[in-house]
Symmetry: C2
Subunit: 692 residues, 2 copies
Amino acid sequence: MVPPVEGGDAALLPEFPRGPLDAYRARASFSWKELALFTEGEDMLRFKKTIFSALEKDPLFARSPGADLSLEKYRELNFLRCKRIFEYDFLSVEDMFKSPLKVPALIQCLGMYDSSLAVKYLLHSLVFGSAVYSSGSERHLTYIPKIFSMEAYLCHTRTEMFANYNQPFSLVQEFIIHSPDFEAAKFWVGNMGKTATHAVVFAKLHVPGDQCHGLHPFIVQIRDPKTLLPMPGVMVGDMGKKLGQNGLDNGFAMFHKVRVPRQSLLNRMGDVTPEGTYVSPFKDVRQRFGVSLGGLSSGRVSILSLAVVNLKLAMAIALRFSATRRQFGPTEEEEIAVLEYPMQQCRLLPYLAAAYALDHFSKSLFLDLVEFQRGLASGDRSARQAELGREIHALASASKPLASWTAQQGIQECREACGGHGYLAMNRLGVLRDDNDPNCTYEGDNNVLLQQTSNYLLGLLAPRVQDGACFRSPLKSVDFLDAYPSILDQKFEVSSVADCLDSAVALAAYKWLVCYLLRETYQKLNQEKRSGSSDFEARNNCQVSHGRPLALAFLELTVVQRFHEHVHQPCVPPSLRAVLGRLSALYALWSLSRHAALLYRGGYFSGEQAGEVLENAVLALCSQVKRCSLPLVRLIAPPDFVLDSPIGRATGELYKNLWGAVLQESKVLERASWWPEFSVNKPVIGSLKSKL
Amino acid sequence: MVPPVEGGDAALLPEFPRGPLDAYRARASFSWKELALFTEGEDMLRFKKTIFSALEKDPLFARSPGADLSLEKYRELNFLRCKRIFEYDFLSVEDMFKSPLKVPALIQCLGMYDSSLAVKYLLHSLVFGSAVYSSGSERHLTYIPKIFSMEAYLCHTRTEMFANYNQPFSLVQEFIIHSPDFEAAKFWVGNMGKTATHAVVFAKLHVPGDQCHGLHPFIVQIRDPKTLLPMPGVMVGDMGKKLGQNGLDNGFAMFHKVRVPRQSLLNRMGDVTPEGTYVSPFKDVRQRFGVSLGGLSSGRVSILSLAVVNLKLAMAIALRFSATRRQFGPTEEEEIAVLEYPMQQCRLLPYLAAAYALDHFSKSLFLDLVEFQRGLASGDRSARQAELGREIHALASASKPLASWTAQQGIQECREACGGHGYLAMNRLGVLRDDNDPNCTYEGDNNVLLQQTSNYLLGLLAPRVQDGACFRSPLKSVDFLDAYPSILDQKFEVSSVADCLDSAVALAAYKWLVCYLLRETYQKLNQEKRSGSSDFEARNNCQVSHGRPLALAFLELTVVQRFHEHVHQPCVPPSLRAVLGRLSALYALWSLSRHAALLYRGGYFSGEQAGEVLENAVLALCSQVKRCSLPLVRLIAPPDFVLDSPIGRATGELYKNLWGAVLQESKVLERASWWPEFSVNKPVIGSLKSKL
C-alpha cells in the first residue's frame, strides 16, 4: 500500500482549480493522487515539480503567445535556455546513478516545455556524453566536464567520410578526415548548424598497409569556441528552416583533409597503436557487433520517451477541450460536451491508453539500457552482454517507430478532434505535431528500423528450425516463441464482450499473431531465395507484407505484456486496479484490432462474432475510460504554463481562456497596416489580360 | 483517337529537361503527351499554361526561398496577389459558362502556387458569388461586379446570431442583427480577419408576431471600404497565427444590434414582405431542404479539388526524389534508387493512383454540381432537382473527408519517405501538409459530415424495407443497392493474382461491402431504438462502427466506379489503356484492402488465400505502376517554379538542386549573430541550484 499523502504534500499534488470540469472529475472511481504516487513515487513527483517551478519562475522561459519568432532569435533563445539548464543542474551525476529514471524524466520535462530544448540538451550532454562514455576510454573523459561547462559544444554524426592514417603515421600520429564530395557531406547533424565546436564523426578507418576497418568514431574540433568561426578545412553551415524543432540548429559539414591527433579516435571498439597497427579487444566479430548495436539504442530509447511526451501533451489538450466544448444534443436546447459522443471517445481515448502503456514501456526499456551500459562500463565481454545488446537493439529499433507513429497519428487526431481551435497555432497541437514528426525519421527511418527487428526474430527462428535451438533472450521478450507450434494451433474462443475486457485476451491473440507472422515471413523468405532472389532482394520483397507487420506486432506484444504485468502486480492498490486494468485492456485490444484482417486470414478469428466482440469491447472500454479521463489527464499534463494551450487549461473555462488569449495577441482588432492598398488602386478587371 | 500534337504544340507540352531521371522516363510504355491530351484536352492544357506563365513572369509572385515572412507581410502579399488575379481575369464569365471545368482548374492552379491564395480568391469570388447567385435574387446581382472590382470584399459565415425584425417593421423595413454573447461569436471566418467589408451572415430569422423561421442568409456590411475600419456595432478581429494557410486572414465577429435594410436578406429560400410577413416559394419543406442542401455542396466540392492538388504536389516531390535518391544496394558499391524498394513503392504509388482517381472524381462531381446549380438558377422546383440536391449533398459530404484524409495521409507518407529532406521547410511538404489540414475541418468536420452520407443511405433503405420502394437517384450512385439481397449472397471467387489486377474485382467487392454495411447499420440502429435509445443516441451509438465505414465505403465505391468507367471508355487510346487500367486497379484494390477485416467478418472473404491474393495484387500493381511513375508525375506536376521544391525539380539533379538551395539561404555559412553569448559567460554548473 502506498502511504496516504501527508499534509505537507498538498503543494506537491495540489487540488484541481474549480471550474466546468468538476463534474467530470467527480465521476472518477479512484483518487488521482494515489495513482500519481503509485505511478511516479513521491521523489519523482518532487523532482518534476522542481523543474517545472524553476522554468515558470525564470523570465528566460517566459512564454510569448502569438510572437512571430525569427529563426535566428528562436535559436538564440534556445541556446540560452540550454545553458541555463546547466546552471540549474537539476540532476547531479550522483543522482543520475542513484535514480537513473530521472534522466528520461528530465528530458521529458524539458520536452514538455519545448522539444527543441530537450533535443538540444540531449544531443549535447547525453548523446555525446554517452558516446564518449561507451565508445571512448580514460583519455576521453576529460571531455565530460567541458560538455557541462559548455567549453565544448557537441554534435554527433555518422557519415561516409574517410579517416586515413597520415603517412608516416608513427611520426605524426595523426588521422586525416576527408569528405570526398558533396554527396558525402553529412546533412542534418543536430547542434552543428550554429553552435557545435566539436563533433563525434564516424568515418571509415584506414590504417597503413591494411584494409578498411569500417566506421569508427573520432572527436573532431569544427569551430573555435572563442569566435565560433570554423576551423581550417571545415565547411560547416546551417540547414535552414525545418518543419519543426526550429530552436535546434541542424547543420552540415564537409572536411577537407582535416588533421586530428591519434587520440581523437574513440577507441573502445578498436584502436590504432602509435605504430599504426589496428587492434580490437573483441575477438568475436558477432560479439563486437552486438555490443556496438546496444550503443545505437540510447538515441532510439530517448526518442521513444520524447514521442510519449508529445502524445501526453496532445491528449491533455484535446481531452480537456472535449470535456468543455459543447455541440448539439438530444434536444435543441440541451448541448452536450463533445466527449460524450462515442465518436469523440473512440478517436481520443485509445491514444490516452497508449500514452500510459508506452510511457511505462519507455521507462522499463530505459532501465534495460542502463543495465546494458553498466555492463559496458564494467568491461563485461560475456555472451549474455552481447545478447542483451542485440535484444535491446531489436526492441529499441521497433519502439521508436511504434511510439513516433502512435504520437504522430494521435496528435493529428487531437488536432482534428479540436476542430478549428486545434488549427490555431496558440493551442500548440501544430507545434507538437511538427516537433514530433522528425522522431519518425532521425536515428533511422521508421520503416528501415523495423527491418532490424524482423531480422532479429528471423535470426532466432533459423537455428530453431535447423538445430532445434531454444528461443531465449536476456529480457525474455522472445521466450514465448519456444511454444510456437502449439500457439499456432490456438483459436480465439471469447464469445462475449464481458469476457473480452482484459488485456490477457489481447496477449494471447498477439502471441498467436507474432508466431503466425514469423512463420509466414520465414517461409516467404525461403521461397524468395529458392526462386533465385539474392538475400538483399529476398528481404526487400518480404518486408512490406511480412517483416514490417511482424516487427510491429512483436513490439506491440512486448508493450502490452509489460504494461499488463505492471498493472496486475500484487502491489497495485486495490482502488487503482480497475482503472489501470481498463487502460491496459483498451490499449491492447485497440492495437490488436488493427490486425483483425490478419487474425481472420490466419484462422485465429473465424465467423462474424470474433470481429464484433473485439470491436464492441473497444467501444465499451472507451466509454468506461471516458469516465476516468480527466483525472487520468491530470497525471500526464504538466502545469498550464508548461502545457501552454488556452484550450487545454486545467480550469476548463474554454471560451474565457480562448477569448482572453485571442484578444491578447498583438494587432488583433487593428486594421491591417496595408489598408491603403485596399481602398486605392482598385483592380481593373482584365487590365493585365493583354500580358497573357 | 486523339490527333497527334502539331509542331506548334512543342511549347504546350515541352520535353523533359535531360537528366538523371531519363532512364526512368524511358521505361514508360506510353506517351505522356498522349495521356495529357486525353486527360485534359488541348484547350485546358493551354489554359493552365497561361496561368502558370503569367505567375512566373510577374515579380509579385516571385518565390522567396527561406524567407521568414511575418504574418502581416504574408497576408499583405496574399491580398495583393489575389487582387492581381482579378487584373489578369484568366477566366471571363462567358468562358466560365462555356467550360465550367475551368473554374476548378483555375482554383487548382492557384492552389498549386499557394493554398492561401486559392482559398482567399475562392472565398471572395466563388463562394460569395455562388451564395448571392443561388440564395439571392435580382436585387442582389449588383454585388457581383463589386466583388470583381473589390469594392466589396467578402466573407461568409454560418452562426448562432439572431436577425430580428425591427419593430415596427413596415415603417423602417430593417432587420437587427445581434450576437447574444461571446459564445455566439463566429470564429474562423475566412477573409474576415483583415479584409472583408461585407459578410454573408446566416442568422435565425424572426418576423413580427411569428415564430423563428430558422437560419437565413443576410448581406451585412462590416467594414468601411475606404478606411477598413469596422462599422458601428461590429467588433471584428483576426484569429492570429494558424498551423497553415497563413496568407488567409481568418477572423471573428460579434454584432451589437446592427441594423440592415430588408433587402439584405438573400431571399431565394424565403423572404419577408414590406409588411413583415414571411413567405417562401417552397411549399414542401422536404424540397426546400433538398435544394438548400445542394447549396452547401459547392464549398465541399471545392475543398475536394484543393485536397487533390495538395496530394498531386506531394506525389510529384516524393516520386522525383525517390527516383534520384540512392541508398544501399545489392552490393557495397552499387547503390539503388529508393524507388526500387518495394517498401517505398507501396508507401507512395497507391497515393499516386489515388491522385488520379480522385482528380477524375472531383471533376465529375463538379459537373454534377453545375447541373444542379443551373436547375436552381432556372427556377427548377421539380422533385428530381430536390433529389439531385440530396444526392450531391451525400456525395460531397463524404468526398471532402475521403479526399482531405487521403491527402493528409499521403503527404505525411511523402514527408517521411523523403527522410530528413522532406523535413526541410524549403522542400514544401510541410507547407502542403499544413495547408491541407484544415480541409479536414472547415465546411464541416470530416466525421460529422460522414454522418450526412450514412443518413442519406439509411433514409433510402427504410422505404425499401417497409414499402418495397426502389433505390433510384438522379446520378445513379445508389441504383445498384436495388439488388442488395442477391449482392449479399456473393463471395470473393478470385484465386490468382493475375485475375485480380482489375478494378472490376474491387467494384464487385465494394458493392458487397456497402450492402453489408448498410444492412448492418440499419439493424444496429433498429436494435438500439428497440432497446430504448432516442433517435439521437441511437445514431451516435451506430456511427463509429457502422455509419462511418458505410459512408466511406460508399464514396470509395463511387470514386472507383467513375474512374473505372472513365478508363474503360471506348474512346481511350489503345496505348493508354494499360497504364490507366493499372492506376484504376491499384487505387481500387489498395483502398479495398483497408476493409479486409470487414470482408472476412461478413463472409465475403474466407480462407487464407483471399487476403493473400488481394495483398499480392496491390504489390504487383505497385511494381507495374512504378515503371510508369515518372511520366505519370509529369502530368500532375506543375512547372518547377510553381512546385517550388528543390528535391522535386524536373531535372532530377538532386544534390545539385538541394545544395544550391541550401547555400542560397541567407546566413547559412555565417556564424550566429549571438556568438559572443557562446564564448563569454560560460555557465557555472549548479550556480542557480540555490534558487530551486
